[in-house]
C-alpha cells in the first residue's frame, strides 16, 4: 500500500483566515445594528454598497495579478474592510464617496502592496482619512442619534439621499445633520466655553454623546467576544484604552473645565470600535506582545493629543495610521527573550 508523504505536523488545523475574518464580522454585528438603530438606514445601505465595491475591486485586482480569485474573496478580508469603513463614515455619505473610499482601500492600500497580509496600513482607516482630508464637509455631516432626531428618514429616503443627493421635501442639510459629540465638544472648548456649560446640552448621555455611547457599548461587547474567542489578544485594546483613559483623567484633573473626563474619550467617537476592531488588525499592527502594549498605548496617547489639540474631530484613524508606520520598528525592538537565552536580542 502506498501513502502520500508530507512533513509534520499532520494534525487537523483548527484555525483559518476566513474563520478568523468571519468571527470579526460576527463580532461587529451588534455594534453595526446599534449604529443602524441610532443613525438610520444609511449605515446599512453603506455597508451593502461598500461590501459590493470591495468584492468587485478585490476580484478585479486579484485577477489582474493572475491569482486565484475565489480564495481571495472567500477569506472575507475585503468584506471586513468594507464593513469597518461603512460603520465609520456618516450615514448619508454620497454613494460615490463610499465607492471611492472602498476602492482606494482595496486597490491602493491593500492590493498594490500584494494583497492580504502585505499592506502596511489599515485599509479602512487609510480610506477614511483620504476622504476626510479630501471631502471634509461630507465626511463630517453626521445625523443626530435617533433620540434627538426630529426628522428620521425611511429606508427609501435614505437611499435617495445617498444615491441621488435629493433631500426629502422640506428638509435642508442643516436641519438634517448635526455635529458629532466630539466635534461639538472640542469646537465649543476651542470657543473657550467651560466644560460644565457644554455638558448641560441635551447632546450628552452618561459618558459620551447620546446614542454614540450605546453604539460604543455594543462594539465593546463584540470586542469582548473577540477576546473570548482568542481572535485578538487583550494587549492592544487594554493598552490603548488604558493610556487614553489615564492621560485624559490626568488632564481633566489638572483643569476640570478645559478637558473632558476620561470616560468621555472612551465612549465618544470611534474609540471602542478602534480599540477592538481597527487597532487590532493583525496585518498592520505589532505582533510581539510587548510591542502590542507599546503600540496600543501610543495610539491611545495620539488619540488624546489629536483630539485635544489637533484640527480634526476624531483621531482614531490618524493615530492608527501613524502607529502602523512605527509597527515594524517597535516589533524589532520588542522581541521576546527566546528560550534558553539570557536576554532579549539587541543590536
Amino acid at each position: 500500500m502506498r501513502f502520500t508523504t508530507i512533513t509534520s505536523p499532520h494534525s487537523d488545523r483548527p484555525n483559518s483566515v476566513s474563520k478568523t475574518m468571519l468571527l470579526v464580522i460576527l463580532a461587529l454585528i451588534p455594534g453595526a445594528i446599534a449604529m443602524i438603530w441610532y443613525f438610520g438606514w444609511g449605515i446599512l445601505i453603506n455597508m451593502i454598497l461598500a461590501s459590493i465595491t470591495a468584492i468587485v475591486c478585490e476580484a478585479l485586482a486579484v485577477r489582474l495579478r493572475n491569482r486565484p480569485v475565489l480564495p481571495a474573496i472567500g477569506d472575507f478580508s475585503a468584506v471586513l474592510t468594507a464593513l469597518l469603513f461603512a460603520v465609520a463614515v456618516p450615514p448619508l455619505l454620497p454613494w460615490w464617496l463610499t465607492v471611492i473610499g472602498v476602492a482606494f482601500a482595496i486597490l491602493m492600500v491593500k492590493q498594490i502592496y500584494g494583497g492580504l497580509g502585505y499592506n502596511p496600513f489599515n485599509p479602512a482607516m487609510a480610506a477614511y482619512v483620504l476622504l476626510l482630508v479630501s471631502y471634509p464637509v461630507q465626511m463630517t455631516s453626521w445625523l443626530p442619534p435617533e433620540m434627538l432626531n426630529e426628522n428620521p428618514l425611511t429606508f427609501i429616503q435614505s437611499a435617495s439621499v445617498i444615491f441621488t443627493g435629493t433631500l426629502p421635501a422640506g428638509l435642508s442639510w442643516d436641519a438634517l445633520t448635526m455635529a458629532t459629540p466630539l466635534d461639538a465638544m472640542f469646537t465649543q472648548l476651542d470657543q473657550s466655553k467651560m466644560l460644565s456649560e457644554i455638558l448641560i446640552q441635551p447632546l450628552w448621555g452618561d459618558f459620551g454623546g447620546r446614542g454614540w455611547e450605546w453604539a460604543g457599548n455594543w462594539f465593546l461587547l463584540g470586542g469582548l467576544f473577540l477576546l473570548f474567542t482568542r481572535v485578538i489578544s487583550w494587549h492592544i485594546p487594554v493598552s490603548m484604552l488604558g493610556s487614553l483613559l489615564v492621560i485624559a483623567m490626568l488632564f481633566h484633573f489638572l483643569d476640570q473645565e478645559a478637558y473632558p473626563f476620561g470616560m468621555f474619550h472612551i465612549f465618544t467617537g470611534g474609540t471602542l470600535l478602534g480599540a477592538f476592531f481597527i487597532a487590532t488588525d493583525p496585518v498592520s499592527a505589532c505582533t510581539t506582545k510587548k510591542g502590542q502594549l507599546v503600540y496600543g498605548a501610543s495610539i491611545g496617547l495620539l488619540v488624546f493629543i489629536i483630539r485635544t489639540w489637533g484640527g480634526y474631530p476624531d483621531a482614531v484613524a490618524f493615530a492608527v495610521l501613524l502607529m502602523n508606520m512605527a509597527a515594524p520598528t517597535i516589533d524589532y525592538y520588542t522581541q521576546p527573550r527566546a528560550f534558553g537565552h539570557q536576554g532579549a536580542r539587541r543590536d
Binding site: I6, H10, N15, L116, A285, A338, F339
Partner: protein, 573 residues
C-alpha cells in the same frame, strides 16, 4: 507513603511559553493486556538506528545467528551496536527503505527467522548494580545497544558519561508522552514500574545525581499511581514522581526540565551544562533489562493506532519487524486510511509504504484517516496574527522567521534564533493561513548547515590559496636574492680583495661544521653502543639487503648535503 505523597504534591511546577492543548486521542489504544507481536518471517534491522556513526556489520549473508547476537558493532564513540532480535539466517545485507525523515533507504541486515527464538551467548546479568563498577555498567549499556528511545536515539552510554566539568545533581526521567495518540510509555509505566525504577537506579549510579524528578503528564493517572507506589515500596526517597499539566510539548527535553525545575537549558547547550540529565522512561527500562537481565535492546513497546486501523493497541515488538506485520496484527487497515505516520501526529514522519522496519526509536505507528491527518491545503498569506508566537514553546517569533526563511535570508533567520526551534509543530498547527512553518524552518536549517559547510570549505580553500601565493612569492624572492648574490659574486673579485674576506668567512663557517660533525659523531657512537648491546632501531630490524644499502646511501647523501646546505646558507646569507 503518606509522607512521600505530600512531598510530591508540594513540588513547584513552572510554565514554558505557549504550548497546545490537543485532543489526546489516547484511549483508543490503551488496552490491556499488552501482547507480544507475532514473530515475523523476516526481520529487517537497519545498521543506523541512532545518532552518530553507523554500526559496522559483523555477519555476512548465509550466517546463522541466535537471538541476542551482535549483528553489527559500533564504529567510533558516538555509535551503537545492533543485535539479532531473533534466531535465524542472515539472508541479505542490503539497502532498504527505513523510517527516516529523508525517505532515503539505508543499509539493513535481513534475517529470516527460524521460529525457535534460540538465545545465543547472553550478556551476564549484573543484578547487584548498586555495587557494580560504573565503567562496567556503562560498557554494558553500550554493548546492549541502548539509545535514547524517546525519539532522538542518541547512544545512551555517551549521555551517561557526563564528564567532570559538569557535576550532575538532578536526573530527569521523561514519562510525559505529550504527543497525542501514543500510549506505549503509559502502558510501560503501568506494567513495568519496578523495572523502570531499577533502570533509574542504574542511571543514578552512573551519573551520581542527588535526586530524580520523574515527570508524567496528568492524563496518565494510573501510571503515576503505580510509579508512586513502586517508589514507596522500593524506598527510593530520592525519586519524586511528579504529575505535570498535560500540555504539548511538555515532553520535549528542555520544556520538561523547565516545567520541573524552572531552569532553562542555555541555547545551543545540553542539560548537563546546568547539572541535569534527562532520559526517557523507555530508555530507563531498557537499561534495567540490559544490566539486570543481560538482555540487549531487541524489542520495545509500540502503539499502533488511528482511525486507519481496525483495532488500535500496543504490542511488544521485536526491532526490525516490518510495519505491515503490526498493522495486520491490529486487524488491518480500515477503508478510511490515508496516511501512515511513524511517531505522533505533531512530529511524526509519514511513510510512503508500510514495508519498513520498526527501529529502536519507533514508538508509534499512526494509521490516520483524512480527518486526523488532512492533506494540507494551499497556504495563504501570513496575516501576522502572531498566534504562532503565542504557541511557540521556545518563545520564538515564527512569523518573522518565516518571512526571512522565505526570502532565504539565512543570516537574518538565524538572528531570530532559528536554531532554538525544536520543530514541535505548534506554530504550523495554529496558523490560520495554513503555512507549513516548520517546513520552512527545516529548510532554513539545512540551508544554513550547507552554507556553513560551504563557507568552511571556501575558507580552507582561501587559506590554501593564500599559503600557496605566499610560498610562491617567497620562493621567487629567494631565487631573485640568489641571482643577485651570484651577480654580485661575479662582480666581486674585481671590486674587492678576496683575501681580507676569507678568514672571517672561515671563522663563521667553522663552528657550524664542527657542530654538525660532533652531532654526527655522537649519533654514530650511540649507534655503535646500541649495536654492542644487540639493540637495533626498531624500524631498521628485518631489513632486506637492498633496503640497508638504500639507507646507507641516503645517510651518505644526507651527510654530504648537510655540509652543502651550510655552504649554500652561507652564500645566501
Amino acid at each position: 507513603m503518606q509522607h512521600s505523597l505530600q512531598k510530591q504534591q508540594k513540588h513547584t511546577l513552572y510554565r514554558f511559553n505557549g504550548g497546545l492543548h490537543l485532543p489526546d486521542n489516547k484511549s483508543q489504544s490503551l488496552t490491556l493486556p499488552l501482547e507480544k507481536a507475532a514473530l515475523p518471517k523476516r526481520l529487517i534491522i537497519p545498521l543506523h538506528q541512532h545518532i552518530g556513526q553507523s554500526a559496522e556489520p559483523l555477519v555476512k549473508v548465509g550466517d546463522q545467528v541466535l537471538k541476542g547476537d551482535m549483528l553489527a558493532k559500533p564504529q567510533g564513540y558516538v555509535s551503537a551496536p545492533v543485535h539479532a532480535p531473533s534466531s535465524g539466517t542472515v539472508v541479505a545485507i542490503e539497502t532498504l527503505p527505513i523510517p527516516h525523515p529523508s525517505g532515503l533507504p539505508a543499509a539493513c541486515v535481513v534475517i529470516e527467522t527460524d521460529g525457535k527464538e534460540t538465545w545465543g551467548n547472553q550478556l551476564e546479568p549484573i543484578p547487584d548494580y548498586p555495587h557494580a563498577d560504573p565503567s562496567l555498567l556503562r560498557e554494558r549499556i553500550r554493548n546492549a545497544g541502548i539509545v535514547g528511545m524517546g525519539g532522538a536515539a542518541f547512544p545512551s552510554s555517551v549521555k551517561l558519561t557526563p564528564g567532570l566539568e559538569n557535576p550532575i545533581h538532578t536526573l530527569i526521567i521523561n514519562g510525559a508522552e505529550c504527543e497525542p495518540y501514543i500510549t506505549c510509555d503509559d502502558l510501560l509505566m503501568q506494567t513495568q514500574a519496578e523495572k523502570i525504577l531499577h533502570g533509574v537506579g542504574i542511571i543514578r549510579r552512573l551519573i551520581g545525581a542527588e535526586r530524580c524528578l520523574f515527570g508524567i503528564e496528568d492524563n496518565k493517572p494510573e501510571a503515576i499511581r503505580r510509579l508512586r507506589q513502586a517508589v514507596t515500596d522500593a524506598g527510593m526517597d530520592w525519586v519524586s514522581v511528579i504529575a505535570i499539566p498535560t500540555l504539548y510539548p511538555s515532553g520535549g527535553e528542555k520544556q520538561l526540565i523547565k516545567v520541573l525545575t524552572g531552569k532553562e537549558v542555555p541555547s545551543g547547550s545540553i542539560p548537563a551544562k546546568i547539572g541535569m540529565i534527562c532520559h526517557n522512561v523507555t530508555t530507563a527500562f531498557a537499561v534495567a533489562e540490559a544490566v539486570i537481565e543481560g538482555k540487549p535492546l531487541i524489542s520495545r513497546y509500540i502503539t499502533i493506532t488511528g482511525n486507519g486501523v481496525q483495532q488500535p493497541k500496543n504490542l511488544e515488538v521485536l526491532i526490525g519487524t516490518p510495519a505491515s506485520e503490526l498493522i495486520k496484527q491490529a486487524g488491518g487497515y480500515t477503508d478510511q486510511v490515508s496516511k501512515l505516520i511513524v511517531g505522533g501526529p505533531m512530529m511524526g514522519i509519514t511513510l510512503a509504504s508500510d514495508e519498513v522496519p520498526i527501529t529502536k526509536a519507533t514508538n508509534c505507528l499512526l494509521a490516520a484517516d483524512s480527518s486526523e491527518a488532512p492533506d494540507p491545503g494551499v497556504a495563504s498569506a501570513c496575516i501576522r496574527c502572531g498566534r504562532c508566537a503565542i504557541a511557540c514553546p521556545a518563545n520564538l517569533l515564527p512569523q518573522q522567521m518565516y518571512w526571512y526563511a522565505r526570502a532565504k535570508d539565512l543570516e537574518k533567520v538565524q538572528e531570530y534564533n532559528l536554531f532554538d526551534c525544536i520543530e514541535c509543530g505548534c506554530c504550523s498547527h495554529v496558523c490560520p493561513s495554513h503555512i507549513p512553518l516548520v517546513q520552512y524552518f527545516r529548510f532554513a536549517k539545512t540551508e544554513s548547515w550547507a552554507q556553513e559547510k560551504e563557507q568552511r570549505a571556501a575558507e580552507r580553500a582561501r587559506q590554501r590559496h593564500e599559503a600557496q601565493v605566499a610560498r610562491k612569492e617567497r620562493l621567487e624572492a629567494e631565487r631573485q636574492a640568489k641571482l643577485r648574490q651570484k651577480k654580485e659574486a661575479l662582480n666581486k673579485p674585481a671590486a674587492k680583495k678576496p683575501k681580507s674576506d676569507k678568514p672571517e668567512a672561515g671563522a663563521e663557517e667553522d663552528p657550524k661544521k664542527a657542530a654538525i660533525a660532533a652531532a654526527l659523531k655522537r649519533a654514530a657512537e650511540k649507534k655503535a653502543k646500541l649495536a654492542e648491546q644487540g639493540i637495533e632501531p626498531k624500524n631498521q630490524s628485518d631489513l632486506s639487503e637492498a633496503q640497508k644499502q638504500a639507507i646507507e646511501q641516503a645517510d651518505q647523501r644526507r651527510a654530504e648535503s648537510s655540509t652543502d646546505a651550510v655552504t649554500s646558507e652561507k652564500q645566501d646569507g
